[in-house]
Amino acid sequence: MKIVISNSSPDPIYEQITRQVKAQIISADLREGDPLPSIRKLAQDLQISVITTKRAYEELEKEGFIDTVEGKGSFVAMQNKELLREKKMKLVEDKLSGAVDEAKLLGIGLAELKEMLVLLYKERG
């Protein structure tokens, strides 16, 4: 698990942690069952409050990304396939939206864009 805390970021520290952990789970850098450092250990490593790391883990648990077992620690949760798929869909949508914006800037119409997409899709097998 890799986490970098920025002091100048407007986002609260617990949010910086949850965002980075989620990204690593979605990208599969962290896999099902992988152990996370303890709340106190993470606080020590990042030199931040125990309360902050506790809150980050609580949020991750609430959203189903991690499980905490009393006395054993926290682990990356068994991924709900639907949930993960939804998240990846969102990623695809975001990238397509970016392409649409660029196309509009260049004055490329919908029909032409569709044609490009069909070609690209076939090209990649």
Binding site: P12, K41, Q44, Q47, R55
Partner: protein, 288 residues
């Protein structure tokens, strides 16, 4: 949550200063920062916990025990680090440790030597040869060697360079890895506590302004900045102090969400640092 320290209605009157009805708890397993300007009463609170001065009223319980009736037992579990550690100048570090060891049932001589090593100190060095920072480290080594459950520090970072300060804060975080251990740490250098503390108690003119989780404080307090005349101090929700100059108004609010909502885009609402909070609350009373 269990409390390592419970302070209830504590009073201490001096000629020009009084600690007035001070009540707060230090939860076990966390770092509590005690902040306030010079002369606010931080050292008085710590001296009363250690029973170095006589209180006029109130109660102090450490690990659930009254700090006067169970003084010996309570003190054996506290590692006390003064702002200026006072040890006999001509004694060697090892001699001081041997003299103190009998007072601590859990004293661990081997651990003490290992800590000296880690802090790059020698048991044969004489106290007067140590710099301020080295004395601080020695005092911390003593506290850790008797396996204290509570470390009490009065302005430990004052007069230390940033390297020493950082090292000290790292040691405190390591100490707290054991969730039965607790730290109470007074400082007017708020940036040290901004990072490391779990809870903050703010004392001003002998009274507690607040005692709460640090994250909660930093998320709800804010500084509002407006150009002159566009906003009056009374318009700001949760106003806790302000500074008015010819061109602008700067004000501290304890409810930044409400301030943003009411004042909208006409002002800048930023997060407040502990330093902002200390500054505006301290001067707020004379200007409000």
């Amino acid at each position: 949550m269990d409390n390592a320290i419970e302070i209830l209605g504590l009073r201490k009157a001096y000629k020009r200063f009084a600690l007035d009805d001070v009540t707060f708890n230090v939860p076990q397993g966390y770092v509590m920062g005690l902040i306030g300007p010079n002369g606010a009463g931080k050292t008085t609170v710590i001296k009363l916990i250690m029973n170095l001065i006589r209180r006029n009223a109130g109660e102090v319980r450490v690990f659930g025990l009254d700090n006067l009736r169970h003084e010996r037992e309570v003190k054996a579990r506290i590692g006390f680090v003064y702002d200026v550690p006072r040890f006999p100048e001509d004694l060697r570090l090892g001699q001081i440790a041997s003299a103190l060891a009998p007072f601590y049932p859990k004293w661990d001589g081997g651990r003490f030597l290992a800590l000296l090593d880690e802090f790059e100190l020698s048991s044969r060095t004489v106290i007067k040869k140590l710099s301020h920072g080295m004395k601080m480290k020695f005092a911390l080594a003593l506290a850790l060697a008797h396996d204290a459950d509570l470390i009490l520090m009065d302005e430990p970072t004052a007069g230390l360079d940033p390297v020493f300060r950082f090292e000290l804060l790292e040691k405190l975080r390591a100490f707290i890895q054991d969730e039965r251990k607790t730290v109470l740490f007074s400082s007017h250098i708020t940036s040290d506590l901004e990072r490391v503390a779990d809870f903050i108690t703010f004392i001003h003119k002998g009274r507690i302004v607040f005692s709460a989780g640090k994250d909660a404080i930093l998320e709800s307090w804010g500084v509002v900045r407006a150009s002159d005349g566009s906003v009056r101090p009374d318009d700001i929700p949760g106003l806790r102090g302000y500074k008015q100059s010819e061109f602008s108004l700067e004000a501290l609010t304890s409810d930044i969400a409400a301030a943003r909502k009411r004042l909208g885009g006409s002002t800048a609402c930023d997060k407040a640092s502990l330093e902002d909070i200390m500054f505006f609350v301290s001067r707020g009373e004379t200007h409000a």
